[in-house]
Symmetry: C2
Subunit: 72 residues, 2 copies
């Protein structure tokens, strides 16, 4: 199981600001999604825990904060 989200941005500056917020959040929480980005899109993937096979509460909280960044 995984949480996936694709986000589009009007320009590279907006994308860069978003990425920096997510990277800061990763350093703060120790949760490291895969982020795949080009010029105006980011695909974010949060993976389930290896042992439980479930998305952790911490990962869900992380995703909610990322949603907040995306709303700008």
């Amino acid at each position: 199981m995984r949480l996936e989200r694709r986000l589009e941005f009007p320009d590279y500056d907006a994308l860069r600001d978003f990425l920096e917020q997510v990277v800061d959040l990763s350093e703060e929480t120790g949760i490291y999604p895969n982020q795949s980005f080009g010029r105006t899109y980011v695909n974010l993937t949060l993976f389930a825990d290896d042992d439980s096979g479930e998305i952790s509460a911490a990962a869900e909280a992380f995703a909610e904060r990322v949603d907040g960044f995306a709303k700008g």
Copy 2:
């Protein structure tokens, strides 16, 4: 055709420094590779030009500068 490169980093700080250099280079050159990263790896993909189907000289020069960043 595409140019692909996978790079590993000792920690997230090193990965973050690398990403910032590549993003700066994208803003400088207008060349935007896909970058897919997690905690200690980055997969970079530079795509061929749509019309020529070839990797442009500018993209090759970009890849060389990225190699330089990776060597730190």
